[in-house]
Symmetry: C2
Subunit: 397 residues, 2 copies
């Protein structure tokens, strides 16, 4: 086993398992300037046409779209962060609010608030206990109640933000649930942003993913917008590339107006274009290998957590496991959660505490499993040391 | 001569003369993943450290900096557009104003207004006539008068925006003028943004450029910020890469806070880093060749304009010539300028009318000379046809 002396990062949602395959592919692509010197000076802030065409085709295939996606409805931007900021700028006024179920990938909060000054209001999903069938299960009743509450608090709620497959839960929503959420939004005149950035990181074979693109009819297409990016599904957070798809021409025009601020190099677009144009590589090499590696790493981490006594959700997607450390925290408070967080960090493992995801019940942590097996093993050992010490001191109290 | 059937773009400030040298260099750089797979997932939104270190050293040398620049005071962003937007967000509140001399590169207006909602107020430089020694000459009296006027109109002016070397004039400010402007700003509690994006496109040998970096002491360093990018000086508008340098820690922290929205791929940063790390290539190959080509193309276009009867400024920098077509427009109005613009466009040449740069006197156009010689020649012929027709109809009136 490799010696790991520093802090192991099992807290940042990155996929370290398939970097070799992607790097090999990108390294094999010839310089884009050989064919066309103008690539150097050319920019189309909504994404160069060739790339949008390829990307539309790619998403049509992999999201199982009910009809071919239109490249002209895609706006390429420098990452999900920028897309959320841009959508908040376009869909809302300063002080407006968006509804989002908790726990959620909390960078969304910074993305909507820092520049567009949009608030998030929460639909808190109850943790229940892991022994029940569906802890943190999203349902429309909770959305309705939370929306009504936000309205009485004076919020002008403009949009519902959903993440499917879900970060940090790893849930994949059923077709029924997706439709119910879209109908809820329509009923309440809300825009819906569906963040499908983990679309291709569903590693359990028998799970059916329902992309918004795959629906035959959308309840309210003019208020429905989908975002996807390369960061998670292609292990390249450093590449800063994603795309918004919208059926609403006015939103599209507005996004195009501000897209110069969120542009990415034509150079990099050329590489990504060549990468996904190679369907054989995507479908026969990268995706199956990556999913197999995710599946194995997930099982490893899940088994390891069970072994050291950490209950957790076993879900079919994402790069993380949502784990319940509450029995190691007495009394069960968010301060206690932070104490445990720092104790684990002192033992050189970084895992993200549930309060970072605005989880309504203390004691939960998000643990990234898409790290090397060596690092997994060391993390689990270090966690085990902390938890054993905790248990013995709790028992002796 | 190559046949040119379409519209010739002599309106967009791109340098097409040295694409071959840059493309060859970038194509020769090995894939960054060979050394480091983590490049794929790694991002530092202020720019990866290695790149900031190289860039600081590069700017120290080429801006003739009085002391070594600090890589930690640099924030790398996806282009000048984003840097201006970010600075407007950080330095101003909604509704505030920035002072800028006209004519100016008018995209600045969109950059400060679209998202940050900052206004521009103008210091209109008088055209005078080309026969006088310094038409459109910037001076501090005009800045003082314009600032006072803006204040009486109720504007809260926060910042002076200067472009040196200047777009569209091609002026290079003297050291005295740079200092006077900085002192004016200090006197009036204004921030100064110095846009030095054409720093390395000064093609006349005997001209001394005074970068803000080169000054021994700055009148008000806490309110002085410099921006530079690769788009113009390295012929790569498509690469979307520039950097802000600020001496103000609070501004730096604020820029870092919003830098995730303006990030560029680590991948592309690696290529640019390798490119400018090769000092031999920069100093002995690229820069001298590019400047020699710019010098030649500028002379060609300038001589051609003289030949077809278009007075113009002969300036030592940039990619453009600021030319006076007013004698072909009767009466001299901005509507007349637009009529001439469309007449030229109908004859398949795109040159940018002065009103696009908020020039206060009608009849001026910005003509890009950094295009292939064939295209220059065809443009001049087509322009000549339009102007001859105009002259004969004016004479027959």
């Amino acid at each position: 086993m490799v010696l790991v002396n520093g802090v192991i990062n099992a807290g940042t949602a990155e996929n370290s398992l398939s970097l070799d395959i992607v790097a090999e592919k990108l390294s094999s692509i010839p310089s884009p300037f050989i064919d066309n010197l103008d690539i150097l000076k050319y920019n189309d802030f909504t994404g160069i046409e060739a790339f949008r065409v390829t990307l539309a085709e790619f998403l049509t295939t992999h999201a199982n779209s009910s009809s071919p996606l239109d490249p002209n409805k895609l706006v390429v931007m420098n990452g999900l962060t920028s897309m959320v900021c841009a959508l908040a700028t376009v869909l809302s006024d300063v002080g407006d609010a968006w509804l989002i179920p908790t726990p959620y990938y909390s960078a969304i909060r910074a993305d909507v608030s820092k520049i567009p000054q949009v608030n998030l209001v929460y639909a808190h999903l109850p943790a229940a206990s892991v022994s029940e069938c569906q802890p943190f299960q999203l349902n429309v009743d909770i959305l309705e109640t939370s929306l009504a509450k936000a309205k009485t608090q004076g919020y002008n709620v403009r949009c519902l933000f959903l993440i499917n497959p879900h970060n940090p839960l790893g849930d994949v929503y059923s077709k029924e649930l997706v439709l119910q959420c879209l109908q809820f939004a329509k009923r309440n005149n809300l825009h819906v942003i569906m963040d499908e950035i983990y679309m291709l990181s569903i590693f359990q074979d028998d799970v059916k993913f329902t992309s918004v693109f795959s629906l035959d009819t959308l309840p309210d297409p003019q208020r429905t917008h989908v975002i996807w990016g390369f960061s998670k599904d292609f292990s390249m957070s450093g590449m800063r590339c994603g795309a918004v798809y919208t059926w609403n021409d006015r939103v599209l025009i507005a996004l195009k107006q501000i897209s110069p601020f969120f542009g990415m190099p034509t150079f990099s677009q050329c590489y990504l274009n060549e990468m996904i144009k190679d369907k054989d590589w995507v479908e026969k090499t990268y995706l199956p290998t990556n999913l197999q590696r995710l599946r194995k790493a997930h099982k490893n981490m899940s088994d390891g957590l069970t072994k050291i006594g950490v209950p957790h959700l076993v879900r079919p997607s994402g790069l993380f496991i949502w784990a319940d450390f509450s029995k190691y925290i007495t009394p069960s408070t968010f301060d206690g959660e932070m104490e445990l967080f720092y104790e684990i960090l002192d033992n050189k493992v970084y895992v993200a505490p549930g309060q970072d995801f605005f989880c309504c019940q203390p004691g939960w942590f998000r643990i990234i499993f898409s790290i090397d097996e060596d690092k997994q093993e060391v993390s689990l050992k270090r966690l085990s040391v902390v938890l054993k010490k905790r248990m013995s001191s709790l028992n002796s109290e």
